[in-house]
């Protein structure tokens, strides 16, 4: 069985300066990156299958600048066999449709039985790339997978709203977008990380005609929905004001 996991890197930052002229958030040189949290769950799901089956190969791919290599090596430390970078320019906006197109070029000839992506990225939160990749490959897709079992058939649980879950039986090949809660991603052991470090990450470049279906025309801090009163003073002064307010609301 061949499994592909598509992953994304996320800058380890909480606060950004906005680059208004280029309509993006500034990521200073030297910023560390980590793996998108949902993608960690996707890798764990793939590794769990590999541990239960014989003859299973896991490839990981990221459409990113070559600096994503360390994240891919971590994925190999978790249990992936091969890693690939589909190289794109840093500091350029690529819409999910463009990224999905690049991934499709990569996956097309490689005949995967299963493709996993995280349900969305933590930075741009589009939740589109996986489904679009499936559409490119004429492959069925299931979004928001929270449980999976392959003992007999591929049975899946998909999360709906309000705690409802659908139990599905699916045929392969199929693309699944993985929701947090499906598993607990492992920490790669030091020895696994050292082994992964020695492995090669292949860099692929496709003729890269930018095909964005949308443009960002402005970026700003999120608008306030309620006008929040900001308490000031020392911690105990704030605590006193807090108690006053909730007391007046009659809940203490």
């Amino acid at each position: 069985m061949k499994i592909l996991v598509c992953i994304k890197q996320i800058p380890e930052l909480n606060v950004f300066n906005i680059n208004h002229s280029q309509k993006r958030l500034n990521i200073p040189i030297g910023t560390k990156f980590r793996m998108n949290r949902f993608d960690e769950h996707a890798i764990e799901a793939a590794v769990a299958i590999k541990e239960q089956t014989t003859d299973c190969q896991i490839d990981v791919v990221s459409v990113a600048p070559p600096s994503v290599e360390s994240i891919l090596k971590r994925a190999m430390g978790m249990g992936a066999d091969n890693a690939f970078i589909v190289s794109i320019e840093p500091e350029t906006y690529y819409s999910p449709a463009h990224i999905a197109g690049q991934l499709a070029k990569f996956a097309q000839e490689r005949c995967y039985d299963l493709i996993f992506t995280g349900i969305m990225s933590e930075d741009e939160m589009n939740a589109q790339t996986g489904q679009m990749l499936a559409a490119h490959l004429h492959m069925p897709s299931v979004t928001g997978v929270v449980a999976m079992d392959m003992t007999n058939k591929l049975s899946i649980e998909r999360e709906r709203e309000g705690g409802i879950r659908e139990k599905l039986i699916a045929k392969m090949p199929i693309l699944l977008t993985i929701q947090a809660g499906i598993n607990c991603p492992r920490y790669p052991s030091l020895s696994a990380l050292l082994r992964a470090k020695k492995k090669k990450v292949q860099i692929i470049e496709y003729e890269n005609q930018l095909d964005n279906d949308q443009s960002i025309i402005q970026i700003s801090p999120a608008q306030k929905m309620r006008k929040g009163l900001i308490l000031s003073g020392s911690t105990s002064e704030k605590a006193r004001q807090f108690i006053d307010i909730v007391t007046r609301k009659g809940v203490i």
Partner: protein
């Protein structure tokens, strides 16, 4: 500037045994566009077998096609749904396709966008017009920042974020109504076996006047006891949590607040160490009064709060408990 009337197409799922709040939100979104430019609207509402279209949905001056899915079909098979929808999209040739930012919308809209060659913009919280073009606002980075996005293709397909288009609209003018029961069969590769519903008996959160909700900022499961102690100073209170805590197994599922958990409307909602993702906010933004405690002054949760307390949550909680103890 004179704009031509734009064609809007709503695609939504009617959920059995649930209110159609998702559909009304899309109607409210349409209304927010109608206030800015002339539009005509058609809604395609999908339901499982034997579900009637509630009469009140027909009074919004929107033409509705109600598609009752046959027994063998279900919305968990997006390929089937696309097969049903695509001819209708092609016939209507909309400028804008709208669906909910939900498990249904997100499984359908990117496929529809791809198949129809439309721009696909997800998680839209506001729509404005600039030079006759629709501009979409969407939240990124867990709701800390927002982008204004314009579409490059002739048609755009969007998903609309829950909790942002909430205006009540009253029309009392009937649109046209078509009822369809498709006969198309598809060798579906996805089979629906069962639907698991959450245990209805646990309504702790529904009955609480005050919800003290914990997020990732709680740090360690050991700290849950301090949170519980804090929640006990309020009458009729309950502890709740954002999704990461439930995923970690630190709190049981019935205490999860957010899109995939409970939608709550307590008198007071106290968010402790919660970043404020749009998924969480959709579940609690209806609270009467929202208090946010977070050490990060830029946390998105402060954007929905009535009272903002920038403090380490436990330093603050300890200070509150100390004052209560001493008085």
């Amino acid at each position: 500037m004179v704009c031509q009337s734009k064609k809007m197409m709503i695609i939504a799922e009617m959920m059995q045994s649930r209110s159609n709040a998702n559909i009304l939100e899309l109607f409210a979104c349409i209304e927010s566009i109608r206030k800015q430019i002339p539009i005509s609207t058609q809604a395609v509402l999908l339901s499982q077998n034997n579900t009637n279209l509630p009469d009140y949905l027909t009074h919004y001056n929107i033409d509705i096609t109600h598609i009752e899915l046959p027994d063998h079909a279900h919305t968990a098979d997006p390929e089937y749904i696309i097969k049903i929808l695509m001819p209708r999209v092609k016939t209507f040739s909309p400028d804008l396709i709208l669906s909910n930012h939900s498990s249904f919308g997100l499984s359908i809209v990117p496929l529809l966008g791809f198949g129809y060659g439309a721009s696909c913009i997800t998680g839209v919280k506001e729509i404005s017009i600039s030079d006759g073009n629709l501009i979409y606002s969407r939240l990124i980075w867990n709701g800390k920042y927002e982008t204004q996005v314009s579409a490059e293709k002739k048609t755009t397909a969007i998903t609309v974020l829950t909790g942002f288009f909430t205006d009540n609209i009253h029309y009392n003018k009937k649109g046209k109504l078509i009822h369809l029961k498709p006969t198309e069969r598809l060798e579906g590769s996805i089979e629906l076996k069962d639907i698991k519903k959450p245990d209805k008996s646990d309504c702790t959160l529904d009955h609480a006047d005050v919800i003290v909700a914990a997020g990732r900022g709680i740090g360690d499961i050991e700290n849950l006891d301090r949170m519980k102690k804090f929640s006990k100073i309020f009458q009729r209170s309950s502890i709740g949590g954002s999704r990461p805590l439930i995923d970690l197994g630190w709190l049981p599922y019935p205490l999860q607040v957010g899109v995939t958990g409970k939608t709550v409307r307590p008198k007071i909602y106290i968010a402790c160490g919660i970043s404020g993702s749009s998924q969480h906010i959709a579940g609690m933004s209806g609270a009467e009064y929202i208090i946010a405690i977070n050490i990060d002054p830029q946390a998105a949760i402060f954007n929905v709060a009535d009272l903002c307390i920038v403090e380490d949550m436990f330093t603050f909680i300890d200070a509150v408990l100390k004052i209560i103890r001493d008085t």
